[in-house]
């Protein structure tokens, strides 16, 4: 139980992402059916999306929209920091590298990873579309989507040459 509480629970997202990624990679490598390989590829990409989305998450943080009323409340709460000038720079809140953290950093979820993942999802969909259309061409050429049968046909073709 201690192992679960100390190691797995705090990093639950990351455990799931690694497991999903391995499932995906295994399917890409080991599955015989081309469509199943593509499903594996999709799972693999989704796992990476999960990793990125997890990066932007903070406990008790809200959506990153500038609400003037909320901002005033925050300003009052963080009066001290506000004196040093509060500016919203969403990309730079996480990580110790940046030195000081911004006053509102703890109350606003980092939107950058989510924005990146919108792009990555689009890229993933495009890849899947291309891959599916190519697998359709493969089916037209070989009449099957099983990798071993395709390889047999290719081998047979080789000896004909």
């Amino acid at each position: 139980m201690d192992f679960i509480r100390e190691t797995i629970q705090p990093h639950f997202n990351f455990w799931i992402y690694v497991i999903l990624m391995m499932i995906g990679l295994w399917a890409v490598i080991a599955k015989n059916n081309l469509i199943k390989k593509l499903i594996g590829l999709s799972i693999f990409q989704t796992a990476i999306i999960l990793l990125y989305v997890s990066l932007g998450v903070k406990d008790g943080a809200t959506i990153p929209i500038l609400d003037h009323h909320a901002e005033e409340v925050e300003m009052a709460e963080h009066a001290e920091e506000a004196e040093h000038g509060v500016e919203l720079v969403p990309g730079h809140e996480i990580g110790p590298a940046n030195g000081g953290r911004h006053a509102l950093a703890d109350t606003i979820a980092n939107p950058l990873p989510h924005v990146l993942m919108l792009t990555a999802i689009v890229v993933g969909v495009a890849t899947l579309g291309v891959a599916l259309s190519i697998s359709q061409m493969v089916f037209k050429e070989f009449g099957t989507l099983e990798e071993n049968e395709i390889l047999e046909q290719l081998k047979a073709g080789n000896t004909d040459d």
């Binding site: 693999f44 990066l55 720079v89 809140e93 590298a97 792009t119």
Partner: protein, 526 residues
């Protein structure tokens, strides 16, 4: 106008692709003029920006004026190294456009506009990869170039090509995903996606630079790029994908995709993680140089075993990638390894272009797929043969060509860095290339006895048999005129131009290497 050069470079082919979509689909004859105009524009832009870089220094371009610290802008950066790579890309795609006229060398004539749309989007991806200043934009541009190349490879009519394209999709996507994963870990630690920004953070903040997450990020990124460039253990997709696709596609992808990936690796090493960070790790340099040695040797040996011209060239690419990766990882104190690797990117782009163009012409004109089909080549197609011979001599590394000088700098780096295994591998590979190409010259000049077509063990017999064959074919001169079987001008022009550039790159290696070393000047000696 001048300060907008990076944006013009990347966006011109996008608009070209749109114009082909608008007009080319109605009348396929409109495609070629549109493409050649856009690519001529990008060629001029590439050389202008190179000129700009070498007179005024690095160009930093922020799309829409969103400056760096926000971490969400599109940052394009042209420095002394990628200006040269840009010029190489622009020249290669410009030349291949002529080769693609009337879809010469391609099997399918129905899809002309579609081909040109993908072709120009591929150019967008390649230019973008080269000048992207942001790790995530780099991922997106890598995917743009990969997706278009999947399409271009699958366009061929060969069923092997279709299946190879499918495998390439799987491998390529896994590679890109690994890269994205690495960028994720890097973002986790540094909170930035901008290459320069990450570089500064890693250089100043030792707690971040020494963390395991950054090391893992580097390894993920490296493996992702290695899959894309077909480095030694990860090259399985390349030979099938490049040898069974249409000739025009092979002529574009083979010279560019792997070289641009090598450049990306060099950029990640120098521009993102930094020279000191990469080489402070004990043993990494040795490990990668040994991998490169295996890549060079296995590529050469496998090339020797091939009977098909294009497949042989594909395995040579695997060996050449080994040259460049090895050169980049030697870490000799004077950076001759890096110099050689970058010079070899330019040289190898031209050599591979030249050889693949020649192979495309052979396939179309002579129906020659096997090496043994090249019998009597020098008589049938003298001009094509000149181009092929220049490309082959450059691959072997004969002095006036650029292939000699790039090997010279790589070997110098290997000696100064104390990596003798790399030096020996380079020399063996040169010898194997010599055997490979002189076997082809022999067949092409003297002809070959059918029984001995693929046997290079019996040199004496082959020579005797070849002499007889030669005298026989000498008695039967080809019917009508010397150039009757020569390739059309649109195919000959890029081939001979590539051959000329190979010679020019070799003759003017001094100034080019001076430019590269000027760009590498800031590197510390280890």
């Amino acid at each position: 106008m001048i300060e907008q050069l990076p944006a013009i470079l990347v966006l011109t082919p996008v608009f070209g692709a749109m114009l082909v979509g608008l007009f080319g689909t109605k009348d396929p004859r409109a495609c070629f003029p549109i493409v050649i105009v856009t690519l001529t524009l990008t060629l001029i832009t590439a050389f202008l920006s190179a000129h700009q870089v070498f007179t005024n220094g690095t160009i930093d371009y922020f799309m829409g004026g969103w400056e760096e610290p926000l971490g969400i802008g599109i940052h394009l950066r042209i420095d002394g190294i990628n200006a040269l790579v840009l010029c190489a890309i622009a020249v290669v795609v410009w030349l291949v456009t002529f080769f693609s006229v009337r879809r010469f060398g391609a099997e399918d004539t129905e899809k002309t506009p579609q081909f040109y749309i993908l072709y120009q989007l591929l150019c967008v991806g390649l230019f973008g990869i080269t000048i992207a200043g942001d790790t995530f934009n780099l991922f997106v541009l890598v995917e743009i170039s990969s997706l278009t190349s999947y399409g271009l490879i699958a366009m061929g009519s060969s069923r092997r090509g279709t299946f190879a394209a499918f495998n390439y999709v799987l491998m390529g996507t896994v590679g890109a995903s690994f890269y994205l994963l690495g960028v994720g870990y890097l973002f986790l630690k540094t909170g930035s996606l901008n290459m320069q920004d990450i570089h500064t953070i890693l250089a100043t903040n030792s707690a971040v630079a020494e963390s395991k997450a950054v090391t893992i990020a580097f390894l993920f990124i490296l493996v992702g790029i290695w899959i894309k460039m077909a480095f030694f253990p990860l090259y399985g997709w390349l030979p099938n994908a490049y040898s069974y696709c249409p000739s025009t596609t092979a002529c574009t992808l083979a010279p560019l995709m792997t070289k641009v990936s090598v450049y990306v690796m060099i950029r990640v090493m120098l521009g993102v993680f930094g020279y000191e960070w990469v080489f402070q790790h004990e043993g990494w340099s040795d490990l990668v140089v040994w991998l490169a040695v295996i890549a060079i040797l296995s590529g050469s040996v496998l090339a020797l075993a091939q009977r098909e011209i294009k497949r042989m060239l594909c395995y040579l690419i695997v060996a050449e990638v080994g040259y460049m990766v090895g050169g980049a990882w030697i870490a000799d104190p004077d950076h001759w390894g890096f110099t050689g690797a970058i010079y070899h990117i330019l040289a190898d782009a031209m050599m591979t272009l030249c050889l693949f163009l020649a192979a495309g012409i052979f396939a179309k004109r002579l129906g020659a797929v096997q090496i043994s089909d090249l019998e009597g080549l020098f008589k049938k197609m003298p001009l094509t043969s000149i181009g092929f011979v220049v490309g082959a001599l450059a691959m072997i590394g004969v002095p006036p060509t650029c292939g000699f000088f790039s090997k010279f700098y790589l070997i110098r780096g290997g000696i100064e860095g104390g990596h003798w295994e790399y030096v020996i591998a380079l020399l063996i590979s040169s010898l194997v290339n010599a055997v490979l190409f002189f076997r082809i010259f022999e067949i092409a000049y003297f002809g070959n006895k059918p029984a001995e077509g693929h046997d290079h063990g019996h040199h004496e017999e082959t020579e005797q048999g070849g002499a007889q064959q030669g005298s026989v074919s000498g008695q039967n001169p080809l019917g009508t005129g010397l150039l009757s079987r020569e390739a059309p001008a649109t195919a000959l022009f890029p081939l001979l131009a590539a051959a000329a550039i190979i010679l020019l790159l070799g003759i003017f290696n001094g100034p080019i290497v001076a430019l590269i070393r000027g760009a590498l000047e800031g590197l510390p000696a280890l």
